[in-house]
Amino acid sequence: MKIPLLVSTGILLVALLPCQECRALSKSPAAAHGALRQPDFFQQQQQQQQQQQTLPVLLRMGEEYFLRLGNLNKRPVGSFSASSSSTSHLQPEASASNFFGAAVQQLQQLPERSLGSPEEGETEGEAVEREKRSEEPPISLDLTFHLLREVLEMARAEQLAQQAHSNRKLMEIIGK
C-alpha cells in the first residue's frame, strides 16, 4: 500500500519539478562576455551608419547658418556660409561630426560677440558675476530648419538602430 503511494509521489515530483536541462535561459560566460562587447561593435556600426548617412549633408551646398549666443537684438557680426568652395576640400567620407566641427570652427574664428558685459564682470566679485549673468538675454541658437531636420533624421536613425540592437539581443536571449 505504501509502496504504490511512494512510487506515485515520486513520479509526480519527477514530472513536475523543473529540470536544469529544460532551462532555456542559462548563459555561458563566453556568451555573456560577447554580449558585453556588442555595444562597442554597435557603436562602430553606428558610426559607419552615420558616416553613410552624412553624405547627403555634405553634398548639399549653399546652406547658411550661424550660431549666436547672447543678445538676440544685436545682429551677428558675420555669418558662416557653407559654400561649395569651402566644403569641396572635405572628403565625402567625413562623418557628421567633422561637418559640424568644421562649421563650428569657422564660426569660432569670427570675432566673439559681446554678451552684455561678461568680460567686464570677470574681474568683479562672484555676486556681481551672477547678477550680470541673470541680466543676459535669453540664449538662442540660430540654425536653419534644413540643418535641424538633418540632425533630427540622424537622431531618428540612431533610435531605430538602437531598437534593432535591443530586439536582436532579446531574440538571442529568448532563442537559447
Binding site: P4, L16, Q108, I139, F145, V151, E158
Partner: protein
Amino acid sequence: MPSAFQFQCHFVLIFLAASKGETRYLEVRDVGEDEPFLLLSEDLKRELSAGQIYRRSLRCIDMLSIEGQFTFTADQPQLHCATFFIGEPEELITINYNFVNIDCQGGDILKVFDGWILKGEKFPSSLDHPLPTSQRYVDFCESGNIQRSIRSSQNVAMIFFRIHQPGNGFTVTVKKNANLFPCNVISQTPSGRFTMVIPHQHRNCSFSIIYPVVIKISDLILGHLNGLFLKKPSAGCAGMGDFVELLGGTGLDPSKMFPLADLCHSFHGSAQMKIGCDNTVLRMVSSGKYINRVTFEYHQLDLQETENRKENSIEEFCFPSI
C-alpha cells in the same frame, strides 16, 4: 477497497495537490509567449537591463531621441553648442547631471531650456507654456547644486553649453517619462497620425511639424456643438472659446506664425489641407469647459507637390525649403 483503486485515488489526490503549486510554472510558460521577459531569470533580467544603458559622446551640435548617458568633453574651446532632445509625443524628457566639470567663473555656460528655441523663437510659445521664459532656462552655474534633475513640460528640450577649457565637459543621463495628455508636441517624423485631447483644461496646445505637409483632420470634437448655432459658420471662429487653427510659417514659435484656417465646429470626416511652409502647426484652443479632441494625419509634401501647388498655398508667407 481494491488496492489498485486506492492507488488510483491516491494518484489523483496527489496530482491535484501538486498541481496547486507546480502548475504555476506552466502558467508562466503560457504567459511567456506574450511577455518573454517573464521567462527570464532575475540574473538575466539584471544583465539585460544593465547592458542596455546606451552611451555615446556628444557633438557640439547634436540631437538625441533615445535614453542613455551622454558625455561631452571639449577638445578645444567650444563656444556655441547645443544638444536637442526629442521624444515621442506622449513622452517627457528628464535630464540628470551625472558629472559636470565646467568653469562657471570663466564664462562657461550650461543651461537647460524647457522646449526648443531657434533664432529667438520658442516652442512652445510663451502663450502656450505654463512658465515664463526666464524660468524655462535652468542654469547649472546658478542652481547646479540644487537642481540636478530637470524634467521638460513636453516632448522636447535642449541644452546650451559653452566650454572654454579643453578637457572640461559634462555627462548627462536622459530618461523619458509618460505623458498622459500630450499638449505641446514637435513631431519627430514628417508623417504620422495623432489625437490631441484637452480634457476640461483651460490651455492651448500646439502640434508642430517642421516639414511641408499635407494634413488631414479626420475627427474634431469641440464640446460646445450641442445646440443651435447662434452664429453662422461663415462668421468664423472669432469669439469662440474652443477652436482649432492651422498655422504655417518659417519659424518655430506658433504665436508668430500665420493662421491658415480655423475650425470651430465639430465634424466627422476629413478636411485636408496642403501647407508648403517650413513649419506647420495645428493648435487647439480650449476654454476648459469641455473635453475637446482632434484626430489628424499628416505626410510630407513631395517636391512635385511643393512646386506645383495651386490650392491652399500661401506663397506670400511661406518659403518652403527643398
